[in-house]
Amino acid sequence: MNAINEEPEHQEIGALLPWHAAGTLSRRHANRVEQALAGDRELARQYDLVREELIETIHLNETLGAPSARAMERLFAAIEGWIPQDRLSVSSLPAPSSHKAISVIQEALKEHDIDQIWKTHGIR
Protein backbone atom coordinates (compact mmCIF):
# COMPACT_ATOMS: atom_id res chain seq x y z
CA MET A 1 0.00 0.00 0.00
CA ASN A 2 1.21 3.49 -0.82
CA ALA A 3 2.16 5.79 2.06
CA ILE A 4 -0.56 8.22 0.96
CA ASN A 5 -3.69 6.76 -0.53
CA GLU A 6 -5.13 9.27 -3.01
CA GLU A 7 -8.45 7.50 -3.63
CA PRO A 8 -11.47 9.79 -3.13
CA GLU A 9 -13.07 7.42 -0.60
CA HIS A 10 -9.84 7.35 1.42
CA GLN A 11 -9.53 11.15 1.29
CA GLU A 12 -13.13 11.59 2.32
CA ILE A 13 -12.69 9.29 5.30
CA GLY A 14 -9.42 11.05 6.20
CA ALA A 15 -11.22 14.40 6.25
CA LEU A 16 -13.72 13.04 8.76
CA LEU A 17 -11.11 11.80 11.25
CA PRO A 18 -11.09 15.00 13.39
CA TRP A 19 -14.84 14.76 13.90
CA HIS A 20 -14.63 11.03 14.56
CA ALA A 21 -12.06 11.68 17.28
CA ALA A 22 -14.31 14.36 18.79
CA GLY A 23 -17.31 12.02 18.68
CA THR A 24 -19.45 14.38 16.61
CA LEU A 25 -20.09 12.26 13.52
CA SER A 26 -23.48 10.72 12.81
CA ARG A 27 -23.72 7.00 13.59
CA ARG A 28 -23.65 6.21 9.86
CA HIS A 29 -20.49 8.20 9.19
CA ALA A 30 -18.83 6.94 12.37
CA ASN A 31 -19.44 3.34 11.23
CA ARG A 32 -17.84 4.11 7.85
CA VAL A 33 -14.78 5.58 9.54
CA GLU A 34 -14.47 2.68 11.97
CA GLN A 35 -14.63 0.15 9.15
CA ALA A 36 -11.98 2.04 7.18
CA LEU A 37 -9.72 2.35 10.22
CA ALA A 38 -9.93 -1.38 10.86
CA GLY A 39 -8.54 -2.18 7.40
CA ASP A 40 -6.13 0.67 6.73
CA ARG A 41 -2.97 1.01 8.82
CA GLU A 42 -2.01 4.36 7.25
CA LEU A 43 -5.41 5.77 8.10
CA ALA A 44 -5.10 4.40 11.63
CA ARG A 45 -1.73 6.17 11.97
CA GLN A 46 -3.31 9.42 10.80
CA TYR A 47 -6.02 8.90 13.38
CA ASP A 48 -3.40 8.66 16.12
CA LEU A 49 -2.07 12.07 15.02
CA VAL A 50 -5.58 13.50 15.10
CA ARG A 51 -6.08 12.24 18.64
CA GLU A 52 -2.81 13.85 19.72
CA GLU A 53 -4.03 17.14 18.28
CA LEU A 54 -7.37 16.80 20.04
CA ILE A 55 -5.77 16.10 23.42
CA GLU A 56 -3.36 19.03 23.15
CA THR A 57 -6.06 21.41 21.87
CA ILE A 58 -8.16 20.59 24.92
CA HIS A 59 -5.11 21.01 27.16
CA LEU A 60 -4.30 24.38 25.56
CA ASN A 61 -7.86 25.65 25.98
CA GLU A 62 -8.08 24.45 29.58
CA THR A 63 -5.05 26.59 30.43
CA LEU A 64 -6.81 29.75 29.20
CA GLY A 65 -8.59 30.21 32.49
CA ALA A 66 -11.90 31.98 32.94
CA PRO A 67 -13.17 35.54 32.80
CA SER A 68 -13.01 37.61 35.95
CA ALA A 69 -16.07 38.23 38.11
CA ARG A 70 -16.18 41.76 36.74
CA ALA A 71 -17.36 40.50 33.35
CA MET A 72 -20.38 38.92 35.03
CA GLU A 73 -20.96 41.96 37.24
CA ARG A 74 -20.93 44.29 34.27
CA LEU A 75 -23.33 42.11 32.33
CA PHE A 76 -25.90 41.87 35.09
CA ALA A 77 -25.50 45.54 35.95
CA ALA A 78 -26.37 46.30 32.33
CA ILE A 79 -29.35 43.94 32.46
CA GLU A 80 -30.58 45.56 35.66
CA GLY A 81 -30.20 48.97 34.06
CA TRP A 82 -27.55 50.16 36.54
CA ILE A 83 -25.37 51.08 33.60
CA PRO A 84 -26.18 51.95 29.99
CA GLN A 85 -26.35 48.73 27.95
CA ASP A 86 -24.21 50.23 25.20
CA ARG A 87 -21.30 50.89 27.58
CA LEU A 88 -19.99 47.50 28.62
CA SER A 89 -16.25 47.97 28.27
CA VAL A 90 -13.99 47.48 31.29
CA SER A 91 -12.65 51.01 31.33
CA SER A 92 -16.00 52.78 31.18
CA LEU A 93 -17.92 50.98 33.90
CA PRO A 94 -18.09 51.14 37.66
CA ALA A 95 -18.69 47.96 39.63
CA PRO A 96 -22.37 47.37 40.48
CA SER A 97 -23.48 48.23 43.98
CA SER A 98 -25.96 45.46 44.76
CA HIS A 99 -24.12 42.82 46.78
CA LYS A 100 -27.31 40.82 47.20
CA ALA A 101 -27.76 40.43 43.43
CA ILE A 102 -24.16 39.39 43.03
CA SER A 103 -24.40 36.80 45.79
CA VAL A 104 -27.43 35.24 44.08
CA ILE A 105 -25.50 35.15 40.81
CA GLN A 106 -22.51 33.55 42.49
CA GLU A 107 -24.79 30.94 43.95
CA ALA A 108 -26.19 30.29 40.49
CA LEU A 109 -22.65 29.77 39.24
CA LYS A 110 -22.12 27.10 41.87
CA GLU A 111 -25.46 25.34 41.56
CA HIS A 112 -25.87 25.34 37.77
CA ASP A 113 -29.50 24.40 38.16
CA ILE A 114 -32.22 26.96 38.07
CA ASP A 115 -34.94 24.86 39.68
CA GLN A 116 -32.79 24.33 42.76
CA ILE A 117 -31.99 28.06 42.93
CA TRP A 118 -35.67 28.95 42.76
CA LYS A 119 -36.42 26.54 45.58
CA THR A 120 -33.55 27.86 47.70
CA HIS A 121 -34.66 31.46 47.31
CA GLY A 122 -38.37 30.76 47.57
CA ILE A 123 -39.02 32.04 44.08
CA ARG A 124 -42.01 30.58 42.11
Binding site: A3, I4, A15, L16, P18, W19, A21, A22, G23, T24, L25, R45, Q46, L49, V50, E52, E53, L54, I55, E56, T57, I58, H59, L60, N61, L64, G65, A66, P67, S68, R70, A71, M72, R74, L75, F76, A78, I79, E80, Q85, L88, S89, V90, V104, I105, A108, L109, K110, E111, H112, D113, I114, D115, Q116, I117, W118, I123
Partner: protein, 186 residues
Amino acid sequence: MQSTPDEVLIGRIANGDRLAMQVLYARYHVRVFRFVVRLVRDEATAEDVISEVFLDVWRQAGRFEGRSTVSTWLLAIARFKAISALRRRPDEELDEEAAAAIEDLSDNPATALEKKDKSAMLRKCLAGLSAEHREIIDLVYYHEKSVEEVAEIVGIPENTVKTRMFYARKRLAELLKSEGIERGWP
Protein backbone atom coordinates in the same frame (compact mmCIF):
# COMPACT_ATOMS: atom_id res chain seq x y z
CA MET B 1 -30.34 15.95 39.72
CA GLN B 2 -31.15 16.74 36.09
CA SER B 3 -30.26 20.24 34.98
CA THR B 4 -32.67 22.48 33.12
CA PRO B 5 -32.28 22.10 29.32
CA ASP B 6 -30.70 25.06 27.54
CA GLU B 7 -33.76 25.59 25.36
CA VAL B 8 -35.96 25.88 28.45
CA LEU B 9 -33.60 28.47 29.90
CA ILE B 10 -33.74 30.49 26.67
CA GLY B 11 -37.54 30.43 26.81
CA ARG B 12 -37.44 31.75 30.37
CA ILE B 13 -34.87 34.38 29.46
CA ALA B 14 -37.16 35.54 26.65
CA ASN B 15 -39.75 36.17 29.36
CA GLY B 16 -37.31 38.31 31.33
CA ASP B 17 -36.25 35.67 33.86
CA ARG B 18 -32.94 36.89 35.34
CA LEU B 19 -32.23 33.68 37.22
CA ALA B 20 -32.44 31.71 33.99
CA MET B 21 -29.96 34.19 32.53
CA GLN B 22 -27.63 33.61 35.47
CA VAL B 23 -27.76 29.85 35.01
CA LEU B 24 -27.09 30.09 31.27
CA TYR B 25 -24.16 32.40 31.99
CA ALA B 26 -22.81 29.98 34.59
CA ARG B 27 -23.09 27.12 32.12
CA TYR B 28 -21.33 28.74 29.15
CA HIS B 29 -19.29 31.79 30.12
CA VAL B 30 -15.98 29.93 30.42
CA ARG B 31 -16.25 28.15 27.07
CA VAL B 32 -17.38 31.28 25.27
CA PHE B 33 -14.56 33.25 26.91
CA ARG B 34 -11.97 30.69 25.80
CA PHE B 35 -13.30 30.70 22.25
CA VAL B 36 -13.13 34.50 22.13
CA VAL B 37 -9.76 34.90 23.84
CA ARG B 38 -8.19 32.55 21.30
CA LEU B 39 -9.52 34.79 18.53
CA VAL B 40 -8.75 38.22 19.98
CA ARG B 41 -5.63 37.19 21.98
CA ASP B 42 -6.46 39.65 24.75
CA GLU B 43 -8.27 38.80 28.00
CA ALA B 44 -9.70 42.27 28.67
CA THR B 45 -11.15 42.45 25.15
CA ALA B 46 -12.49 38.89 25.51
CA GLU B 47 -14.25 39.86 28.75
CA ASP B 48 -15.88 42.82 27.04
CA VAL B 49 -16.96 40.56 24.21
CA ILE B 50 -18.57 37.93 26.42
CA SER B 51 -20.51 40.63 28.28
CA GLU B 52 -21.79 41.80 24.90
CA VAL B 53 -22.60 38.24 23.82
CA PHE B 54 -24.73 37.47 26.87
CA LEU B 55 -26.37 40.88 26.74
CA ASP B 56 -27.39 40.03 23.17
CA VAL B 57 -28.80 36.74 24.45
CA TRP B 58 -30.81 38.67 27.04
CA ARG B 59 -32.18 40.97 24.36
CA GLN B 60 -32.64 38.42 21.55
CA ALA B 61 -33.70 35.25 23.38
CA GLY B 62 -37.21 35.56 21.97
CA ARG B 63 -35.78 35.21 18.47
CA PHE B 64 -34.04 31.90 19.19
CA GLU B 65 -35.80 29.39 16.95
CA GLY B 66 -34.12 26.21 18.14
CA ARG B 67 -32.78 25.30 14.72
CA SER B 68 -29.32 24.95 16.25
CA THR B 69 -28.19 24.14 19.77
CA VAL B 70 -27.89 27.00 22.25
CA SER B 71 -24.11 26.54 22.46
CA THR B 72 -23.79 26.82 18.68
CA TRP B 73 -25.92 29.99 18.74
CA LEU B 74 -23.75 31.45 21.50
CA LEU B 75 -20.51 30.71 19.64
CA ALA B 76 -21.91 32.23 16.44
CA ILE B 77 -22.77 35.45 18.30
CA ALA B 78 -19.38 35.37 20.05
CA ARG B 79 -17.54 35.02 16.76
CA PHE B 80 -19.38 37.98 15.26
CA LYS B 81 -18.64 40.12 18.32
CA ALA B 82 -14.99 39.05 18.44
CA ILE B 83 -14.45 39.99 14.79
CA SER B 84 -16.13 43.35 15.41
CA ALA B 85 -13.80 43.91 18.39
CA LEU B 86 -10.77 43.04 16.26
CA ARG B 87 -11.88 45.53 13.62
CA ARG B 88 -12.08 48.26 16.26
CA ARG B 89 -8.52 47.55 17.36
CA PRO B 90 -5.79 49.71 15.80
CA ASP B 91 -3.78 48.00 13.04
CA GLU B 92 -0.55 48.69 14.94
CA GLU B 93 -1.74 46.57 17.84
CA LEU B 94 -2.68 43.69 15.52
CA ASP B 95 0.71 43.85 13.82
CA GLU B 96 2.45 43.66 17.19
CA GLU B 97 0.41 40.59 18.13
CA ALA B 98 1.13 38.88 14.83
CA ALA B 99 4.82 39.56 15.36
CA ALA B 100 4.60 38.22 18.91
CA ALA B 101 2.95 35.03 17.66
CA ILE B 102 5.78 34.50 15.18
CA GLU B 103 8.40 35.23 17.83
CA ASP B 104 6.74 32.68 20.06
CA LEU B 105 7.78 30.01 17.58
CA SER B 106 11.41 31.01 17.31
CA ASP B 107 14.18 29.21 19.12
CA ASN B 108 15.33 30.38 22.52
CA PRO B 109 16.72 28.44 25.50
CA ALA B 110 13.25 27.65 26.77
CA THR B 111 12.13 26.51 23.32
CA ALA B 112 15.12 24.23 23.02
CA LEU B 113 14.08 22.51 26.22
CA GLU B 114 10.49 22.27 25.07
CA LYS B 115 11.56 20.47 21.91
CA LYS B 116 12.15 17.48 24.10
CA ASP B 117 8.49 17.51 24.94
CA LYS B 118 6.42 16.77 21.86
CA SER B 119 3.16 17.60 23.59
CA ALA B 120 4.38 21.03 24.65
CA MET B 121 5.63 21.70 21.14
CA LEU B 122 2.31 20.64 19.68
CA ARG B 123 0.54 23.12 21.98
CA LYS B 124 3.00 25.84 21.03
CA CYS B 125 2.37 25.24 17.34
CA LEU B 126 -1.40 25.17 17.91
CA ALA B 127 -1.05 28.57 19.56
CA GLY B 128 0.96 29.80 16.57
CA LEU B 129 -1.71 29.03 13.96
CA SER B 130 -3.55 31.87 12.22
CA ALA B 131 -6.85 33.03 13.74
CA GLU B 132 -8.79 31.25 11.00
CA HIS B 133 -7.00 27.97 11.64
CA ARG B 134 -7.10 28.29 15.45
CA GLU B 135 -10.80 28.90 15.24
CA ILE B 136 -11.66 25.78 13.28
CA ILE B 137 -9.33 23.54 15.31
CA ASP B 138 -10.89 24.81 18.55
CA LEU B 139 -14.46 24.44 17.31
CA VAL B 140 -13.89 20.85 16.23
CA TYR B 141 -11.64 19.54 19.00
CA TYR B 142 -12.47 21.62 22.06
CA HIS B 143 -16.03 22.82 21.48
CA GLU B 144 -16.99 19.47 19.89
CA LYS B 145 -18.89 20.99 17.02
CA SER B 146 -20.03 18.88 14.06
CA VAL B 147 -19.30 19.81 10.45
CA GLU B 148 -22.79 21.30 10.17
CA GLU B 149 -22.44 23.30 13.39
CA VAL B 150 -19.03 24.71 12.42
CA ALA B 151 -20.52 25.72 9.07
CA GLU B 152 -23.26 27.60 10.89
CA ILE B 153 -20.94 29.31 13.40
CA VAL B 154 -18.33 30.37 10.85
CA GLY B 155 -20.81 31.02 8.03
CA ILE B 156 -19.17 28.82 5.39
CA PRO B 157 -20.34 25.75 3.40
CA GLU B 158 -19.84 22.32 4.97
CA ASN B 159 -17.31 21.26 2.33
CA THR B 160 -15.30 24.39 3.10
CA VAL B 161 -15.32 23.41 6.77
CA LYS B 162 -13.65 20.11 5.91
CA THR B 163 -11.17 21.78 3.56
CA ARG B 164 -10.30 24.46 6.11
CA MET B 165 -9.76 21.85 8.79
CA PHE B 166 -7.47 19.96 6.42
CA TYR B 167 -5.38 23.08 5.75
CA ALA B 168 -5.28 24.00 9.44
CA ARG B 169 -3.88 20.54 10.22
CA LYS B 170 -1.48 20.78 7.29
CA ARG B 171 -0.20 24.12 8.58
CA LEU B 172 0.17 22.61 12.03
CA ALA B 173 2.28 19.79 10.55
CA GLU B 174 4.44 22.41 8.78
CA LEU B 175 5.00 24.35 12.00
CA LEU B 176 5.95 21.15 13.79
CA LYS B 177 8.32 20.22 10.98
CA SER B 178 10.02 23.62 11.26
CA GLU B 179 10.54 22.81 14.92
CA GLY B 180 12.12 19.46 14.06
CA ILE B 181 9.09 17.25 14.59
CA GLU B 182 8.25 15.25 11.47
CA ARG B 183 4.80 13.67 11.62
CA GLY B 184 4.77 12.02 8.21
CA TRP B 185 1.50 13.72 7.33
CA PRO B 186 0.28 15.11 5.00
